[in-house]
Amino acid sequence: MEQVQPVTKSRLQRFFGSDIWYSFTRNPVAIISAIVTVGMILAAIFAPWIAPNNPFDLATISIMDANLPPAWQSGGDANFLLGTDDQGRGVLSTILYGARISLMVGFFSVIFSMVVGIALGLISGYAGGRTDAIIMRIADIQLSFPAILIALLIDGVARGLIPSDMHSDISIYVLIFAIGISGWVQYARTVRGSTLVEKNKEYVQAARVIGIRPFTILRRHILPNVMGPVMVIATIHLAIAIITEATLSFLGVGVPPTTPSLGTLIRIGNEYLFSGDWWITIFPGITLVVLVLAVNLLGDWMRDALNPKLR
């Protein structure tokens, strides 16, 4: 058996020495998923440099280019590899630019609802009694309002508070907040349920006997043990959040139609499905599927990797 490693290590070294990294390097699916996810994020971030044209710059798009098929089909234009949408925006470029909005809204709103939901769920499950009742009834109230109404409300309030020339700047935050706030209950209730089970287990009692504070117990002991279902929900919610963004933008609370996101593009394209202009919806649809697939596979791997028993 080998000797224990020396204790002084940089963070990076620690990371590359960690089991997580080790299991990552052994898992081709995880590697591919990570490459795809990171690739998409990078592609989105660097959209202005890699996209063939800028679909958000209205002065450069022309309605006369609308609904062109992909370049390889007859009638296609080499400038627009994947065809154009109803306003003459290149589908490829729009996917790249739109992914910026979608990814941002998707990731941040999921993180937002996750953080809020987990925190409240842990507290609720662990404290029990009145605290639990109050938090869970708030959750019930929250559940009764669909994201649409929340978004309308937040948008309305935000528009009231913020000067009109800043409206378009805040719209994305309104979206993140609205989607995030309407998603936390799922996490909260799931975490609470699992916390109820975990808190009676002996390892938690052991931690209590040591004198660990409830918050530390929640964070260090219970949280890792309830993360399984949370990860499942979170990875699936990413797709939901991205699509919800499109729905909300349609209500006029989100990003304006002149800067379509991935979801909006799919929604627009949906209108052209019957007329045969499949590329407007199919390409962003594939992008979304691939992204969701990659993130979920990554999540699956991560969940397994974080669980020592499954290594």
Binding site: G156, T190, I233, V292
Partner: protein, 324 residues
């Protein structure tokens, strides 16, 4: 137990009141109802008179108070659009929605749970990987796209199934059911699949994730050591130990299926409550929205109460009264 239920019902009243209060504070952000109630030629004075009569110009607290007082008497107001009592409109839609959500919840559970168990048992198998991947496509495509594609395939190209509506229904008292007619059953297929797809994926993945952990526990090992058949080990012992999150999510999803199956109901023109509600939002039909939200709040309190009770039945360790 009785006191638990009683307490919950009491809390539900508070929840419903709060929901109504929030609802009334948010209505002004949804749009102006008057425009949907009159034609374009209606004069400004008439519009203002109407707003006055409806009490729309009152502060929201007064509007809320009026609503709450009437609601106590069982009067939820009159729909602006349909000019019919809201309670009647909602009741008419209830059966359609409940039948649809029931079928899709059953579908989701009946397919999702075994698939989840299977994929956990054969975690490395090709079939499991296939199931896991396919199921994700179901969640990453927007519901409306899935709905339309199903309609195109089964309704337009193959012409096997109806493209919209509920088919013929049979009325049993105030309840209308599509279960008793061939066209009603046929009409259920596509929307319930569309609805179930998402739930199914979620449940399947949850079950899988939890099963993977439970399968490594000592008691599962001991159950195997006793020679129990796999079926019993997997479903009786292992699966039951994964149920708490599954019940939680199923409860939540069922609630949102009943309340907000908006997109599916619109795509299939399913005459349910979701459709009524989204219509009410776009028409700013405040009485429908308010009553509906309150009703939904009640549903959620009840569903979550049942979920909490189920926790106790599933997991004896949670029975709070084990110490006297």
């Amino acid at each position: 137990m009785i006191s638990f239920i009683f307490k919950r019902l009491l809390q539900s009243v508070i929840v419903m009141l709060t929901v109504a209060l929030i609802a009334f504070s948010m209505f002004r952000f949804i749009g102006d109802p008057i425009n949907n109630m009159v034609g374009q030629d209606t004069s400004q004075a008439d519009r203002e008179q109407l707003a006055e009569q409806l009490g729309l110009n009152d502060p929201f607290l007064i509007q809320f108070g009026r609503f709450a007082l009437n609601a106590v008497e069982g009067n939820f107001g009159i729909s602006y659009k349909y000019r019919q009592p809201v309670s009647k409109l909602i009741l008419e839609r209830l059966s359609a929605t409940l039948e649809l959500s029931f079928v899709s919840a059953v579908l989701a559970l009946v397919i999702g749970i075994p698939c989840g168990v299977y994929t956990a048992l054969k975690a490395k198998g090709l079939i499991s990987k296939g199931i896991m991947t396919l199921s994700l496509i179901g969640v990453s495509l927007p519901t409306f796209l899935i709905g339309i594609l199903l309609i195109l395939l089964f309704g337009v190209i193959l012409r096997w199934l109806p493209t919209f509506g509920r088919g013929d229904v049979v009325a049993i008292g105030w309840w209308t059911t599509g279960f008793l007619t061939a066209s009603g059953l046929k009409s259920l297929i596509l929307p319930s699949i569309t609805l179930a797809l998402f739930q199914m994926t979620l449940i399947m993945r949850l079950v899988r994730a939890e099963m993977l952990e439970v399968l490594r526990t000592d008691f599962v090992k001991f159950a195997r050591a006793r020679g129990l058949p796999d079926r019993s080990v997997h479903f009786k012992h292992a699966l039951k130990n994964t149920l708490v999150p599954v019940i939680t999510i199923t409860g939540l999803q069922l609630g949102s299926l009943i309340a907000f199956a908006i997109i599916t109901e619109s795509v299939f023109q399913w005459p349910g409550m979701g459709l009524l509600f989204i219509q009410a939002i776009s028409d700013v039909d405040i009485p429908i929205m308010a009553a509906y939200l309150v009703l939904i709040a009640f549903f959620f309190v009840i569903i979550n109460m049942i979920v909490d009770i189920l926790y106790y039945t599933v997991d004896p360790r949670l029975r709070a009264d084990s110490t006297a």
